[in-house]
């Protein structure tokens, strides 16, 4: 398991090769790479800055990967999330999941991304022609989010 928060760019090919290097039990590696878009909420994005909560971020990422490990039989997981200032087209996040068969790798990869979106403390601030703006969270089914609705 490799979980990293970093400012540097990552290399999907190198990460996937590192997972399978020297082992023959892996039958499937499903990977996802999220990129910075040049457009959001109808206006152009010139750059974005990703902020996080050092300490909690790493804990949250480990927890959601561990949860994936309890739900599916996984052989390895690599999760890299970048922080700092990024340009449109830059890679933001990488999730790669190795398993014996593709079904578990696909499912766990999607689960980790969905869970990360609502549980890992990262925030995006976009730079547009009209100025800077914090990205608003999207409506989510996360139960941790729902718990807040009953609080006055």
């Amino acid at each position: 398991m490799k979980i990293v928060v970093q400012t540097e760019v990552f290399d999907l090919g190198a990460e996937v090769n590192a997972m399978s290097h020297g082992r023959t039990d892996i039958g499937a590696i499903a990977s996802f790479v999220g990129l910075a878009r040049d457009m959001n909420e109808g206006s152009g994005v010139q750059a974005m800055t990703l902020e996080h909560y050092p300490g909690m971020t790493e804990k949250a990422l480990v927890m959601l990967v561990e949860e994936a490990n309890t739900r599916w039989t996984l052989l390895d997981v690599t999760l890299i999330h970048r922080v700092g200032r990024l340009q449109p087209g830059d890679p933001i996040v990488l999730v790669a999941v190795a398993s014996s068969h593709r079904g578990e790798a696909f499912a766990a990869c999607e689960f980790i991304m969905d869970a990360l979106k609502t549980r890992a403390p990262f925030w995006k601030k976009e730079e547009t022609a009209e100025g800077e703006r914090w990205v608003d969270a999207r409506v989510s089914d996360d139960t941790a989010v729902a718990r807040w609705e009953k609080i006055p």
């Binding site: 890992a120 925030w123 969270a137 807040w148």
Partner: protein
Amino acid sequence: MKLRVLYFARLRERFGVAEESVELAGSTAADLIAQLQARGGVWEEELAPGRAFRVAMDQEIVALDAVLYDNAEVAIFPPVTGG
């Protein structure tokens, strides 16, 4: 009790503070929110009922009825937007 309170992202910018020490009269996360709201201005506005924010204690998200303890690290931040 004394708490170390951290703010992130939009809330850090609006409050104009990243971290502070807070002497809390009550015991729960809701008590802390109420005490901060009583400061008025942006505090009252951003932490008003119905506004979307999260509270974490010791780096895990908690509900507002969570009981805090002396010297706990508490963070208040907007819903997350990573990925």
